[in-house]
C-alpha cells in the first residue's frame, strides 16, 4: 500500500491528474450502484480499473476498433435490461457507461471538460433515486473533487501539491456558496414539468379524474407525483383502515363510470342516513398538492368539513368532499375522522335506485347477472353475493386490463347457429329465410311478411344475432320442458303459452337487424339446463306493453330496462328479473313495438327466480 502511494506520488504530473480525474469519476458513479443492474456496475468498475492500470503502467490507450464493439454491446445490454433505450432509467445507465468509456478515450484537453461535465450531470441523475442529507453531502464532495480535477489540468509550470489544490477548489466552493444559497431560495419553483413526459398514446397516468372507462387504456402508468401528504397526530392507523374517499363514480353507461348526474346527486343528498361512530376520531393534517380540481381528501369518515381560507368545502350525499374554488395552490387543513363507524347499518336506503341502475348497452350476460343481484331484496345478501362472486371467479386487480374489444370475446361463445336453431324451435319463430324450426324447408311466407310492415321485396336477409337472454327468456317464458335437439316437427310438442307473455311470432326477421345485438355471449345449454325446475313466473301487467314508449330503431335493452324498472316500480317488493327484448321493425309507422320475448317477473318477494 505504501509502495503504491509512493509510486502515485512520484508520478509525472499529467498521470497524477488523470488519476485524480478517475477518483472523482468513481466518487460520482458510486451512488448509482444501488439502482443500476449488476452488470453495468461491474463493467464500469472494470473499465475504470483498466484506465488506472494504463495510467500507472504507461501503456497506450485501446484503439477505437476495440472500443466501438464494446460500446455497442453495452448499448444492447442496456436495451435488454430496460426494454428500451428511451426513458429515464435507461438513459441514466447509458450515461454511466458513457462516462466509463470516455475515460478510455480521452485524448485532447477538450475531453477533460466532457468528462467533468458528464460527471456533473450524473450527480444530478442520482437525485432521481434519493435526495437525503447524505446525498447532499456526497454531492458537495463530488463537486469539490471534480473542481480539483479540472483545476489540476490548468497548471502550466509549477503545480502545487494536492492538498493545496483541494484548498483552492474549497475556496472556490466557499465563495460560491452564498450566491448559490441566495439563488436557491429566491428562484421560483415551477409546479409540474415544463412539458409532458414522453409516453405512448395508449397509456395514461393514474390520477384523479371524474370518469373511468376500463378497457380504453391499455396500460395504466403509475404517476409518482404526490397527491397529498398526511401527518397524523399520534400513531398512524394501519394500512387497511386508510381509505381516502375521492370522487364516487356511481353511474355506468356500459362503457364509462362517471359520477351520478346532478339530479340523482340531489336525491342522494336529500335522503336521510343513520350514522353512528365509535371511539375518538383520528386527528391528522393533510397537505394537498394543487391539482386544479375540487377534490378534498379525508379519511373515512370525517367528522366535519375541512376549513380552508377563501374556499368553502361541501360534502355530497356520497360523502365526497369538494371545494367550491379550484385548488391552485398547496392547501393544508386539519381533520378528524372516525375510523370505526356504522353508516345506514340497519335501514334500507329510501331510494336505492341511483345505485341499482343498469346501463343500456351492457353485455347481456352481465345484464342478467346485474338483474339477479338487484332481485335480491336484502342488501346484505346482495353484498354477500357480490363478494362471493369475486371470490369464486378469477378476479384480479391489474393496471393492465385488456382493451375493450378483446374483453368481449372472453366470455364463452357457443355456436350461435345451433343456439339460434334451438331458440327458434322453442319459440316457433321462423329464421331468416322464413323457415320454421323443425320443419324441413322453410320459407318466408311473403304475404304474411308484408302484413307486418313495409319491407322491400328482397330484403337483405342476414342471420340475426340473438343474445343469450333471448334463448333463456324463450325457454323460461314458454315453460316448455326441455327438448332435445332434433326432436320431431311441431305437432307433438305441447304448446303451452303464457297468455300474458305476449309472445308474438315475429315474421319479420329483417327487423332483427334493428336490434343490433352482437353475438358475443351466449349461454351454453348446461347453464340453461340449470333453469329447470324453476318457479313459475308470474306475468307482468299487460298494460305495460302499451305504455312502453316506442322508438324507432332504438336499442332494445333501453326499453327493456325501463320496462323492467317500471315493472319493478309497479310491484313493490318484487324486482324484475328478466327483460323483454323489444325490436322496432323498420318502417314501422305505427310506432308500436313488438315483443319477442316474454316479460315476466318472479313470484313473491324473497325468491330469486333466476337465483343462483
Amino acid at each position: 500500500m505504501k509502495a503504491l502511494f509512493a509510486r502515485v506520488a512520484a508520478l509525472p504530473r499529467d498521470k497524477a491528474d488523470t488519476l485524480l480525474l478517475l477518483a472523482s469519476a468513481l466518487l460520482v458513479l458510486a451512488p448509482h450502484v444501488n439502482h443500476l443492474p449488476g452488470w453495468v456496475s461491474l463493467l464500469c468498475a472494470m473499465t475504470l480499473s483498466w484506465r488506472a492500470a494504463i495510467t500507472l503502467r504507461g501503456k497506450r490507450m485501446p484503439p477505437s476498433l476495440l472500443l466501438l464493439p464494446l460500446a455497442a454491446a453495452a448499448m444492447f445490454g442496456v436495451a435488454h435490461s430496460y426494454q428500451s433505450l428511451l426513458g429515464r432509467d435507461a438513459g441514466v445507465a447509458m450515461l454511466v457507461l458513457l462516462v466509463a468509456f470516455k475515460m478510455l478515450e480521452m485524448h485532447a484537453r477538450r475531453d477533460l471538460f466532457v468528462v467533468v461535465f458528464l460527471c456533473l450531470f450524473l450527480v444530478l441523475t442520482n437525485f432521481f433515486y434519493e435526495q437525503g442529507i447524505g446525498t447532499a453531502l456526497l454531492m458537495a464532495l463530488s463537486v469539490l473533487a471534480l473542481l480539483t480535477a479540472q483545476l489540476s489540468f490548468q497548471f502550466t509550470g509549477v503545480v502545487p501539491p494536492l492538498r493545496q489544490r483541494f484548498l483552492m477548489s474549497a475556496k472556490v466552493l466557499g465563495l460560491a456558496t452564498p450566491l448559490a444559497l441566495a439563488l436557491f431560495f429566491l428562484f421560483p419553483r415551477f409546479d409540474g414539468p415544463l412539458w409532458g413526459m414522453p409516453g405512448d398514446a395508449a397509456s395514461a397516468r393514474s390520477g384523479l379524474s371524474e370518469t373511468m372507462a376500463p378497457g380504453t387504456m391499455a396500460n395504466l402508468a403509475q404517476s409518482g407525483e404526490p397527491a397529498f401528504r398526511v401527518r397524523f397526530e399520534g400513531a398512524a392507523p394501519p394500512q387497511e383502515q386508510l381509505y381516502w374517499r375521492g370522487p364516487v363514480l356511481g353511474a355506468y353507461d356500459g362503457r364509462t363510470w362517471t359520477r351520478l348526474d346532478a339530479r340523482m346527486r340531489r336525491a342522494t343528498a336529500r335522503q336521510p342516513l343513520t350514522l353512528s361512530t365509535q371511539g375518538k376520531g383520528v386527528g391528522y393534517e393533510v397537505t394537498l398538492e394543487p391539482s386544479y380540481g375540487h377534490w378534498l381528501f379525508a379519511l373515512e369518515l370525517p367528522q366535519r368539513l375541512p376549513e380552508l381560507d377563501g374556499n368553502a368545502a361541501t360534502v355530497s350525499g356520497e360523502f365526497e368532499l369538494t371545494a367550491t374554488n379550484a385548488i391552485e395552490a398547496r392547501l393544508r387543513y386539519r381533520m378528524v375522522s372516525h375510523l370505526a363507524y356504522r353508516l345506514q347499518a340497519s335501514a334500507l336506503l329510501d331510494d336505492p335506485d341511483p345505485w341499482l341502475q343498469l346501463p343500456a348497452n351492457l353485455n347481456p350476460r352481465a345484464l342478467l347477472a346485474g338483474l339477479e343481484l338487484r332481485a335480491e331484496p336484502d342488501p346484505r345478501k346482495r353484498v354477500d353475493a357480490v363478494l362471493q362472486r369475486f371470490r369464486r371467479d378469477n378476479y384480479v386487480y391489474t393496471l393492465n386490463p385488456p382493451p375493450r374489444a378483446q374483453r368481449r370475446r372472453r366470455f364463452p361463445v357457443r355456436q350461435p347457429r345451433r343456439l339460434l336453431r334451438a331458440f327458434r324451435r322453442r319459440l316457433r319463430v321462423p329464421d331468416a329465410r322464413g323457415r320454421r324450426a323443425g320443419a324441413g324447408r322453410h320459407r318466408l311466407p311473403r304475404r304474411r311478411a308484408q302484413s307486418a310492415g313495409r319491407l322491400p321485396h328482397r330484403a337483405p336477409v342476414r342471420r340475426p344475432c340473438l343474445g343469450r337472454s333471448l334463448a333463456r327468456a324463450a325457454r323460461l317464458g314458454a315453460h316448455r320442458p326441455h327438448r332435445r335437439r332434433g326432436a320431431g316437427a311441431g305437432a307433438a310438442r305441447p304448446r303451452r303459452r303464457d297468455p300474458a307473455a305476449r309472445t308474438v311470432r315475429y315474421r319479420r326477421f329483417g327487423a332483427l337487424h334493428a336490434a343490433r345485438w352482437r353475438n358475443e355471449s351466449v349461454a351454453g345449454p348446461a347453464a340453461l339446463r340449470r333453469r329447470r325446475g324453476q318457479q313459475r313466473l308470474e306475468p307482468v301487467d299487460p298494460e305495460l306493453h302499451a305504455a312502453a314508449p316506442a322508438r324507432r330503431g332504438r336499442q332494445c335493452a333501453v326499453l327493456a330496462g325501463r320496462l323492467a324498472h317500471a315493472a319493478g316500480a309497479g310491484h313493490p317488493g318484487k324486482s324484475v328479473a328478466a327483460v323483454a327484448i323489444l325490436a322496432a321493425p323498420p318502417g314501422n309507422r305505427s310506432g308500436r313495438c313488438a315483443i319477442l320475448g316474454p316479460v315476466f317477473a318472479p313470484g313473491p318477494a324473497g325468491t330469486g327466480a333466476l337465483g343462483r
Partner: protein, 327 residues
C-alpha cells in the same frame, strides 16, 4: 484566416502604435474577459441541469445547478484576478544581427499576496501562446520573447497578449501590452568578405595591403590571389572531393599602416547594404584580431581604437546609417 488578419489589420489601424512606456500596471480597464468554448459548454450544461430539476422537481437538483452556476461566476472573478494588477516592465532590448532572433526580456512582477499561475504570453495574434509563466506572490518572473529580425535598424517590440484561463478554464481573461523597448539590428556581416583594407590602399577593387612580414595564417582562396601565396601543403592534404579547399597564406605585421574602415573608399558601384555588410564584417574581423581601426561612416568618425565600446559604436552607426532618426 482572412477574418483574423482583417481584424488584426483593422485593430492595428485603430490602435496606432501606442507604446506603453516604462512599467505598465494591468488595471481593471485593460483586462478583457470572455467565456471559452468549454465555458459555453458549461453554460449549456447548467441549462440542462436546471430544466431537469424543474421537470422532475428535484430540490437537490436546484441546489446543484445553482452551486455550479455560482462556481462559474466565482471562476470568472478569479480568472480576472489572476491577471489583474500585474506589473509589466521590459528590460533593455538586445542587439542582434539581421536575420537572427531578437530575444526581448520582459519582467512580470506580482505585488499581491496571491500567486499567479498559468499566465500565457505571446505575440498578439498568435492563437496558441508559446510562453507560460507562473508568478509567485510578491515575486517576479521573466519572459523571453524571441522576435525574428529582418532588416537592420531598430526593431520595436511587438504587441503582446497576456492571457490566462487559470482556475477552471471556463473563462479567458486577456490584456495587450506593447513594451517600450526596441532592439538594434546590425547589418548581417558578409560571408566571404575580402580581407581588411589598409589605409594607404587606393586599389579599386578594395583589396588593400596590410604589412606582410609575418605569416599570420591561412585564409580561403580568393580569385586573383597570386599563385605563389597559396598554401600548397595544406591544399594537398585534403582531397577536394573530401572537402578540401584552396587556401592562401596571408601575412601581416610589419608595416603598421592604420586600418581605416570607410564607406566612402569602397566601390560605390556596390549595393549600399552590401557595403555595409562588408564593413560590418571588417569591423568584426578587426576586432577579433585586436587591430585598432578607425571608422568613418557618413557623419560618424571614430579614431583608431579597438574594444567592445568602439565596436558597438561602429556597429550602431552601421545599423542606423541612413535610416533617419537616431535613437
Amino acid at each position: 484566416m482572412a477574418p483574423q488578419s482583417l481584424t488584426r489589420r483593422m485593430g492595428d489601424r485603430m490602435r496606432p502604435s501606442s507604446v506603453d512606456e516604462g512599467e505598465l500596471v494591468l488595471s481593471q480597464r485593460r483586462i478583457y474577459i470572455l467565456p471559452t468554448r468549454p465555458g459555453l459548454g458549461f453554460g449549456a450544461l447548467l441549462l440542462v441541469l436546471l430544466i431537469g430539476s424543474i421537470n422532475y422537481g428535484l430540490g437537490l437538483g436546484y441546489a446543484l445547478t445553482f452551486l455550479a452556476l455560482s462556481c462559474a461566476l466565482v471562476d470568472m472573478v478569479l480568472t480576472w484576478r489572476n491577471l489583474a494588477y500585474l506589473r509589466l516592465q521590459p528590460l533593455r532590448g538586445p542587439n542582434v544581427f539581421a536575420g537572427q532572433e531578437a530575444v526581448f526580456q520582459l519582467q512580470v512582477r506580482n505585488t499581491s499576496r496571491r500567486a499567479r499561475y498559468a499566465i500565457l504570453v505571446d505575440v498578439a495574434g498568435n492563437d496558441a501562446p508559446r510562453h507560460a509563466v507562473d508568478v509567485p506572490a510578491q515575486g517576479g518572473a521573466t519572459v523571453r520573447m524571441a522576435v525574428p529580425s529582418g532588416a537592420r535598424g531598430w526593431l520595436e517590440a511587438p504587441r503582446l497578449t497576456l492571457s490566462t484561463r487559470f482556475p477552471l478554464g471556463l473563462f479567458r481573461a486577456w490584456s495587450y501590452w506593447r513594451p517600450g523597448t526596441r532592439a538594434l539590428v546590425y547589418p548581417f556581416p558578409e560571408e566571404g568578405a575580402p580581407p581588411l583594407p589598409s589605409a594607404s590602399s587606393s586599389a579599386l577593387d578594395g583589396a588593400g595591403q596590410a604589412g606582410e612580414d609575418d605569416f599570420a595564417g591561412v585564409r580561403p582562396y580568393q580569385p586573383g590571389d597570386p599563385l605563389r601565396r597559396l598554401a600548397w601543403r595544406q591544399i594537398a592534404r585534403l582531397d577536394p572531393v573530401d572537402g578540401g579547399q584552396l587556401a592562401t597564406k596571408h601575412f601581416e605585421g610589419g608595416a603598421r599602416t592604420e586600418l581605416v574602415l570607410d564607406l566612402a573608399t569602397m566601390n560605390p558601384q556596390l549595393d549600399l547594404e552590401l557595403r555595409l555588410s562588408r564593413l560590418t564584417r571588417w569591423v568584426l574581423e578587426a576586432e577579433s584580431r585586436a587591430l585598432p581601426y578607425a571608422f568613418r561612416l557618413g557623419a560618424d568618425s571614430y579614431d583608431a581604437a579597438y574594444g567592445a565600446a568602439h565596436q558597438s559604436a561602429c556597429l550602431r552607426a552601421l545599423a542606423l546609417y541612413g535610416l533617419g532618426g537616431k535613437r
